[in-house]
């Protein structure tokens, strides 16, 4: 970073940083993770666009009205919303450095996440049992890809949640674990935001088609 002009006339004041200053550990993690989430957002945008294009091509197969049960979707949405607020409570207790309460809220969050996945898999199993498999029509291919990708994200979120609970149990709420929990918090709330798009575009607008 040192410029030649500095050495020639040392009496002149230097207006730039010669060496890069020290960064505290993990200082850029949050921004980096946010940028990862934004790239994930683009993946979902492409899947939504695919569904938007193919969502009406039933190939004389079942349409959303024949397949979707909005009561089940509403229940599923409730599970994810509740898991979002309980994760928020976990973050609030983490702020107060209460290990036990944080772990308890994380367990509750995980259970709501499991309930969400369970309901979603039940729905998928029911659809596949009725012959509405991904191979049936372009609508179903794009449906399973979009909703399945979201479900996969929730699954990995649960794996991550479990890992962090083991970490917190072993090492407590140390700085590194707090940072990890904050990243997972962003991930978890982000999945909830994606789900808003899913239940609106796929389920509600699907029923209105």
């Amino acid at each position: 970073m040192t410029l030649a002009t500095v050495s020639t006339q040392s009496s002149e004041p230097v207006f730039h940083v010669i060496d890069e200053h020290a960064h505290p550990e993990g200082a850029s993690t949050m921004l980096g993770f946010w940028i990862y989430l934004m790239s994930d957002c683009l993946i979902f945008a492409i899947l939504f666009a695919t569904f938007g294009v193919l969502g009406g091509n039933y190939a004389a197969g079942p349409a959303p009205k024949d397949l979707f049960d909005l009561k089940l979707v509403a229940l599923n949405t409730t599970m994810l919303l509740l898991s979002s607020i309980t994760y928020g409570f976990a973050m609030l207790t983490m702020e107060k450095s209460k290990v036990g309460a944080t772990q308890a809220w994380l367990v509750i969050t995980g259970l709501f996440g499991l309930a969400f996945l369970g309901i979603e898999l039940t729905e998928f199993a029911h659809m596949i049992h009725e012959g509405a498999t991904p191979q049936r029509s372009a609508f179903l291919s794009s449906f399973f890809t979009l909703v399945g990708t979201h479900g996969l994200h929730v699954t990995f979120g649960l794996v991550w949640l479990t890992t962090l609970m083991v970490q917190v149990a072993r090492f407590g709420l140390i700085e590194a674990n707090r940072r990890r929990l904050m990243c997972l918090s962003m991930f978890w709330h982000f999945l909830d935001v994606v789900w808003i798009g899913v239940f609106t575009f796929v389920y509600l607008l699907g029923m209105l088609r």
Binding site: A45, G52, V53, L92, D192, V193, I196, L208
Partner: protein
């Protein structure tokens, strides 16, 4: 939260604050966000399930507007988005992403819709000589 990390002398004199991006909410902000998102979820489900509004296009429009509002609510109350965190870089990344998403979505739907419309005369093929 931010004022705490500013007050610490050990954080140095530069504008780097590890916690700014994830500045936390309070209990009341989480509860307000939760309450709003419950209402914003329940209303569109109720509209579609009961079919209160006969016109489907009007229902679809209301559902879409409510979804957009709910996404903003989640961004503000759960993801704690603001223009200050990380010196505005999170907001910058978000704005860039939103532009990309809008281009990808509207572009795909627009182009493919017109392609579909122009491919339509499939049914008329039988009447052709």
């Amino acid at each position: 939260m931010t004022s705490d990390s500013h007050a610490l002398p050990s954080t140095g004199d530069h504008g780097h604050h590890a916690h700014d991006a994830a500045s936390h909410g309070t209990l009341s902000s989480y509860l307000i966000g939760f309450g709003l998102s419950v209402v914003l979820t329940a209303v569109p489900f109720w509209l579609v399930m009961t079919g209160t509004i006969a016109d489907k296009q009007v229902t679809a429009l209301i559902v879409l507007v409510l979804a957009a509002v709910q996404i903003v609510v989640h961004m503000v109350y759960f993801l704690h988005m603001n223009t200050r965190s990380e010196n505005g870089w999170t907001m910058m990344a978000l704005i860039f992403t939103v532009i990309m998403v809008v281009i990808a979505l509207t572009g795909s739907l627009w182009v493919m819709h017109h392609l579909n419309v122009n491919m339509m005369p499939v049914h008329d093929m039988s009447q052709m000589p």
